[in-house]
Symmetry: C2
Subunit: 454 residues, 2 copies
Amino acid sequence: MRRLFLLIIAVFTVIQANGQETEKVIKSIFDEALTDQTAYRNLEYLCKNTKGRLPGSPAAAEAVEFTRQALLKAGADTVWLQKVPVPHWERGSEKCSVISELSGVTDLSISALGFSVGTTDNGITSGIVEVKDFEELKRIGKKNIEGRIVFFNRPADNTLINTFAAYGGAVNQRVYGASEASKYGAVAVIVRSATQALDDYPHTGVTRYADDVIKIPAVAVSTLDAEVLSKIIKADPAARVSLVSTCKNYPDTWSYNVIGEIRGSARPGEYITSGGHLDAWDISEGAHDDAGGCVQAIEMIRLYKKLNIRPKRSVRAVMFMNEEMSGTGGRTYASEAKAKGEIHYAAIESDRGVMSPRGFGFEAEGDRLQKLQGLSSWFAPYNIRDFDKGGGGSDISPLKPMGTLLIGYIPDVQRYFDYHHSSNDTFDKVNIRELQLGSASMASLVYLIDLLDL
Amino acid sequence: MRRLFLLIIAVFTVIQANGQETEKVIKSIFDEALTDQTAYRNLEYLCKNTKGRLPGSPAAAEAVEFTRQALLKAGADTVWLQKVPVPHWERGSEKCSVISELSGVTDLSISALGFSVGTTDNGITSGIVEVKDFEELKRIGKKNIEGRIVFFNRPADNTLINTFAAYGGAVNQRVYGASEASKYGAVAVIVRSATQALDDYPHTGVTRYADDVIKIPAVAVSTLDAEVLSKIIKADPAARVSLVSTCKNYPDTWSYNVIGEIRGSARPGEYITSGGHLDAWDISEGAHDDAGGCVQAIEMIRLYKKLNIRPKRSVRAVMFMNEEMSGTGGRTYASEAKAKGEIHYAAIESDRGVMSPRGFGFEAEGDRLQKLQGLSSWFAPYNIRDFDKGGGGSDISPLKPMGTLLIGYIPDVQRYFDYHHSSNDTFDKVNIRELQLGSASMASLVYLIDLLDL
C-alpha cells in the first residue's frame, strides 16, 4: 500500500513537473514573440514591397521569393516551392458615374470584381435598376432588366455579432450577381461592397459566371456610394449610369506555394501544417488578408528554432497561393500530400485577420473536441479563452478527406471587414502585439497538440 | 400534490417567460446600438471640435456644452452641470535636441508633462545622464547628477499580457521622476514615454512634485527617440541636450461634470452611475481616452429611452471632468452624493479605451461576485465572456466608502497604449462596432443589475 502511494506520488510529481515544463515552454514562446520584431518587419515588407500580389503578378512572384528567404532565415530545415496553376486576371482603367437630370453627374467609388469581363474602352451607359436579392430580380423580370445595369444593394446585417456571418449573408450578390442578372438580359452589375462598414472604399472579391450565361461586367461600389446611388435613382428612376471597367482575363499561368519545414524528431512522416495565403487583391496591401497569417506561420518556425523546441512530428509553415481567386494552392498542397502518402495529423489556418486573439475553432466532435477544449487552461494566462467547435479555413479544408484535424485561428473580427479586399487593408492597421499574440498562440497550440498527441 | 406540481410549473413558466423577455430586451439593446450612428457621431464631434480639452480650456467648456446637449437629445429626464475645481496648466513652445561631436544635432520628439514647470525661453543646455530607475539615481549620486538633465529610460515590459500592468510598471518615472531627480540636483528630466509601442509619438501625462523639492522641467520623449538618445549618449557621454519647454501653471479655476439622469420608476433615491471622463490631453483628440467612454454613457440613456426601458433605480450618465490631472470630478461627484444622502447602488466606468469588449471587472467578493459572474450567460451570444474580479476605475472609486458596487468595463487593451496620452489617439482609431458593442454591453449590464437587484 505504501509503495502504491509512493508510486502515485511519483507519477503525480512527474505529471506536475511536465506541466510546469510545458507552462514554461509556452511562456517562452509568448515572451519571445512579444519582444521580437521579425514577424512585424516581414509583414511590413510584404505590405510595402509586394502590394497587390494577385496570382500570376510580378508582386506575387516577389512575395514568393521574399517568404522563401524569410523561412530560411527563420531556420527551417527545408524550404521549397510547390508549383500551383493559377488564373491571371488584371484590372484595367475604371470609372463610374450616375447621371441624373435632378442631381447632375455624380462619380462613384468602384472596383472591378475578380474574373469580371471588361467593358469596351468607351464603356456602357444605360438605365439602372436596384434590387436587394435574386428573388427581387425574378419578380421584376426580364422586361424591366433587359439592356439595363442591375444594382445589388443588400447591406450586410449589422445586428449579427459574427461579422463573417454578416459577410456571408451579403456576399452572394458579389459572387453570383452578374450571372443571375445576365439571365434577365442585364448589361452589367454594380454590387454594394460586402462589408458592414459605411465607408468610401470599394471592397472587391471574385465574381463567378455560370457556364450558360453571357458574361457581363461586374464592379463593387463603396457602401457610402451605394447609399448615394440608391438615393439618386429613387429620386430619378430615369437616371443613367456610365461605367468603364477595362479589366481582362488572361490565360492561366503558374505560381507557387511556399513551404518551410522543421523535420519531426520522432514521427517525421506525420505533419502539422500552419498557414495563411500569400496572394492579395490587386488594390490592397493585404495586411490583414492575409500577409499577417503568412508571417505568423513563418514566426512559428522562427520561434521553435530560436527556443530549441523540437516537435515529434514534422511541422510546416505554408504560404498558400491563390486563395482569393480559385483556391488552387490549398488543393495542390492536399493532392500532393495524398499522392506522397503523407500523414497530415493537423492543420491550422490564420485567415480571419490578425487582430487580438480570441481562440480557436476546431473541426472535431465528441471526445476529441473535449480534449482540445481542455487545452484552453494553458492559454488562460494569455486571455485566450474561446475554444469552440468551428471551421478550419478554405486553404486547409482540402486536407479533410485525409482525416486531418482542421483548426481555424479566431481573432476578434469586429473590424476585419473595414479592411477586407480593399485599399484600406494596410500595414498601419496591424498592431504588433495583436499580431504576435496570434503567432504565439498558434505556435503554442501546435506544440501542445504534437506533445500530447491530441 | 398535483396543485404543488402545477404551482411549480407555473413559477417555472413565469421565470422562463421573464428570462425570454430579458433576453429580448438585451438583444434589442445590442440591435439598436449596432444600427444607430448617434454615439459614433458624438464621438466624432468631441474629437474634431473639442480636441485637447484639458480642464479649464475653451475646448473643455465646449465639450461640457456639447455633451449637455447630447444628453438632452438622448432623452435624459434631467441634465445638469456640477461645478468642479480644476487646475489650469498650459503647454508652451517646446523643442529638444541632443548635440554630440560624433553625430551632430539630433532633434527629439518631446511633449511637456502636465503640471511641469517650464524652462526660460532660451531653455536649458546641459549634460545628460541616463538611468533606468530611482535605485540607479541613488547609486549614481549627486556628484554625477547635479547640474545635469536626467533621462529616465526604463521601457514598459512587453512580455506582460495586460498592457495596463506594463504601463503601471513604467509610469513612476513619469509621475515621480522630476521630484526624485531634483533631490540630486538635476536641472530637468526627460522621460521615456510610458507605452509598449515603439513609435514617434511622445505620450504625455502628469508629473507630480513633492512639496520639499525644487520644481524642475519634465518632458516625455517618444520611445523611438528614447532609443536614439540612449544610443547617442552611450557613444558620446559628453553629449549635451538643449531643452526648451515654456509650459506654465496658472491659478486653479472651475469646470463641470456633466450629468444626465433617468429617474427610477420604483426606487428613484437609489442610483446607478455609468461614466467616462470628458477631459483629454491638450495634444490629443482623446478618442479612446476618453471621449469614447463618455459617448458610451450618453448612449445608455439614448438606448433606454428609445427602447422604453424603465429602470427601477435612477440611472445616470456622468461625464467626469479632470480625471487626467487631479481627479477632482470624481471626488466632487462622490462628496455631493454623500452630502445629499443619495444611495449609490452601483457605478461603472469606461476608461480603458473603446476597443472590442471582453467583459467586466467587479470590485466584489464571495456570493455577490459569484452572482455577478453568473450574469455572463446573458452575454455569451455577444462573445463577451470575461466576468472577473477587478478594479472599477479612478472616477468612480471615491464612491467606494458609500458601499457602491464598482465595475470596470474591460475592452481588449492590446493596442490601447499606442494611443494613450498622445496625438495618435484620434477618431479614426475607433471602430463603430467595437464602440457600440461596449455601449450595449454596459447598458445591458446596468439593466440586469437593476432588474435582478444584484
